[in-house]
Symmetry: C2
Subunit: 460 residues, 2 copies
């Protein structure tokens, strides 16, 4: 098993071949900006991502400069970066990617923001220049700001209208309570209405600095060319390359206590299905039990042969969609199970899902399930790594969030060492936790009276 | 430019190298079953699809054998094929794919049904055997049938709860009227409640025959092995390989007249956004103007630099999502534009979208727009063809639906020959058609009074 490759913040240069035959290189510029590449032989396209180590959890309830709420400002800024620089209008940026048929988008998450593009090899240089310009010298034009406010309010309305999305936001708020990870990534219509250009500008100035940024590219990429292009593009965009800085430290990867704020949250809507989630605090991203959680999650609700799928859908026909999940962040996580079903059966489905976790805690898992989970995770990982998108993401997260790079063989080795007893121990710990029920649909809270109490399938 | 490669039904064996360096082979078995492969050098995974030339448009309003509605029986059958054969239980089938981490699913469309799997190269033989067994010898067990009925009703409820999906079904019904393509693919809760096992069995016996089936695989595939495995698996599953038949003819690719049945259809829902579609009859799949339609669609609403995106989102902030589309089938199609916006601005958005089509009909498009559209389509196609999924689909559709295979260079050559005048002529023809408005959201029909009449931005 290949040991994880450390990506220490202080190590300027890294260069190695992976067991799969790709070459990974990393350069840290004097400004503290990190550039990583994974050259995949025979690739004819490439994906590049600009990662900024700021997400919605970092927003301030009251922005220091302007006194307005900062909630939603990370995502607001992400939209505005497409709206023009001194040398490129919003239309120029759109044309640059459309004209080459590239995929081009951005993602605001709770702990980071990523701007990315997937293009043919001959277009990587263009993509690098445009993304660098967007990141480094966005105008945040006042008129564009007001128009984009309306676009974001439409985006929030679209998310609100989707009960499957709405129930996730309820669950996170209920499980994580006052923790900053609990908040919805995009803010609320109210915070977006209140958000000022000054708040977004302050957010931009505070967080979009070279030492905060990781650039990762995978596929048909040549590292030295990439570094030269990044430096040229950032210099052209006005980022001073003579300022010396160390890369900014990643977040502390220390678990925090997150006691569920609410045990039940139901939003009544006149729709056909109830979207139902059961959740509790899970494990943080670097928790040493992550391989156990991956195996547990696969056996419990990871595929068509999983226990939840078999019990809820195959044996009883109660749901089309049923699954388990583990969302992991730097210092905590959310674990749970979800389904969408007819309102009259929602309580039954909630009880069934919880009972499956309890059964795993009580009776453990079989060797055949362990081996199937390992096969599932290794096959799916191998398929994912054929795409440059997945490799670009893996590389960016390795440096920005994890601080180390794990080859597929390393990961599979850790998964293979998980025992049935490990899984049962973790299942027992999770089953002993207090579960929150979140539901959106045509039901009332009383449906879940006594859920999770002794005699209701909860062993605690 | 490489001429399209004909795939005549009577030609048993085809073997050629593509300009991109892959090798395409086709074998027609004595039973009429067609097997196609595209071997991609250096691929480490493969996608295989079993295509059956039957879709929801082929369903009978009253099934001849049993007197019940056949609507939804194609999709019902697709679900049941996962529920077991004499040699594999439903759980065995689920385990087979989960254990290797493969992607594995099925798709019922209006003109075909496809069962597919994406796996690592060493698992292709397994995937072929399991899919062949599912197709050839499904048990359609009566108890599984009843449970799956409930799962499908949940799936339909999920689709119904999604306003973005619901508005599409309204539009197709309104534009295509009595045409069989107008119907929703999955049927309705009522037709699924009424559907009998006998109706599904009859559908299965009538349509799932060797001469109706095309198997296509792409990636790390060796043709002779594939053919041998298909024959072995189908023989094991009980399909008699000694029955001689010719492949079943594809549908007639002849345009039919489809006059919109309704000019307006609004479904009131108490949600934040209005999901809005404008549609008219478009062009059929083999209409010689398809390259013109592709270019027109790209310029009108195909990307962030498109006219609709610029006018509706960028200049006015009225919508997060806005686009145009062209859905093409054997004998007709639906063309149109769509957006989701706040109810108070829905009429304005509808007028703006229609006005953009009228402007294109009146003033044409620029050479710069033509060239950008060509760049967009060629770049996106090149990126798509890196994946074995896209190549498997292209190959299956070429044989089952189109009757010819076009290399990327051929397609790009046809797109490059489109002139600004071609686009204007097609835009004029579309703008002269009667447009149907379909909307789901918190608005009333009166919002669209007079839409499309002279003075409202419609030049007809």
């Amino acid at each position: 098993m290949i040991p994880p490759r450390e990506f220490p913040l202080t190590e300027p240069s890294i260069d190695f071949e992976t067991a799969a035959g790709s070459r990974i290189r990393r350069t840290v510029l004097p400004t503290g900006l990190r550039i990583l590449s994974e050259e995949m032989p025979a690739a004819q396209s490439a994906t590049i991502g600009f990662w900024v180590g700021v997400g919605s959890r970092d927003e301030l309830a009251t922005d220091s400069a302007v006194g307005a709420s900062g909630f939603g400002s990370t995502h607001f800024l992400e939209h505005l970066l497409f709206k023009g620089t001194p040398s490129r209008s919003a239309l120029d940026i759109a044309i640059a990617f459309d004209a080459v048929g590239g995929e081009h988008n951005a993602l605001t998450a709770k702990e980071y923001t990523c701007y990315y593009a997937k293009v043919r090899d001959q277009d990587l240089s263009m993509a690098t220049s445009v993304l660098a310009d967007m990141i480094a010298s966005s105008l945040i034009d006042p008129e564009e700001f007001e128009r984009e406010r309306q676009v974001i309010i439409e985006e929030l309305a679209m998310r609100e209208d989707d009960p499957g999305t709405a129930v996730w936001e309820l669950l996170f708020e209920a499980v994580l309570g006052d923790h900053p990870l609990a908040r919805p990534i995009g803010g609320t219509p109210q915070t977006i209405e209140e958000c000022t250009r000054e708040a977004v500008l302050e957010h931009y100035a505070r967080n979009y600095r070279a030492a905060d940024v990781v650039i990762s590219a995978a596929g048909a990429v040549r590292h030295d060319e990439l570094v030269a292009e990044v430096v040229a593009a950032l210099t052209a965009a006005g980022w001073d390359q003579s300022i010396e800085a160390a890369p900014v430290s990643r977040r502390p990867l220390v678990a925090v206590d997150t006691t569920p704020a609410r045990s039940l949250i139901v939003e009544h809507r006149p729709i056909e299905q109830v979207h139902l989630l059961l959740g509790c605090t899970g494990i943080a991203m670097r928790d040493e039990r992550w391989p156990v959680m991956s195996i547990l999650n696969s056996i419990l609700g990871g595929g068509m042969s999983s226990r939840l799928f078999q019990e809820v859908r195959e044996k009883r026909g109660l749901a089309y969609s049923v699954y388990s999940f583990s969302s992991a962040f730097s210092d905590t996580g959310v674990f749970g199970m979800g389904a969408a079903c007819t309102p009259a059966r929602a309580r039954e489905v909630a009880d069934l899902m919880h009972a499956e976790l309890v059964a795993m805690a009580t009776d453990g898992v079989t060797e055949e399930e362990l081996s199937r989970a390992l096969g599932q995770l290794s096959g799916a990982s191998a398929l994912a790594l054929e795409d440059s998108d997945s490799r670009m993401s893996r590389l960016g997260r390795a440096d920005l969030i994890l601080g180390e790079f794990q080859e597929l063989d390393t990961i599979l080795g850790m998964l293979a060492s998980v025992t049935a007893e490990d899984v049962r121990t973790l299942a027992r710990e999770l089953a002993d936790r207090s579960f929150t029920v979140a539901a959106v649909g045509a039901i009332d809270e009383s449906v879940f009276d006594g859920f999770g109490e002794p005699g209701e399938g909860n062993r605690s």
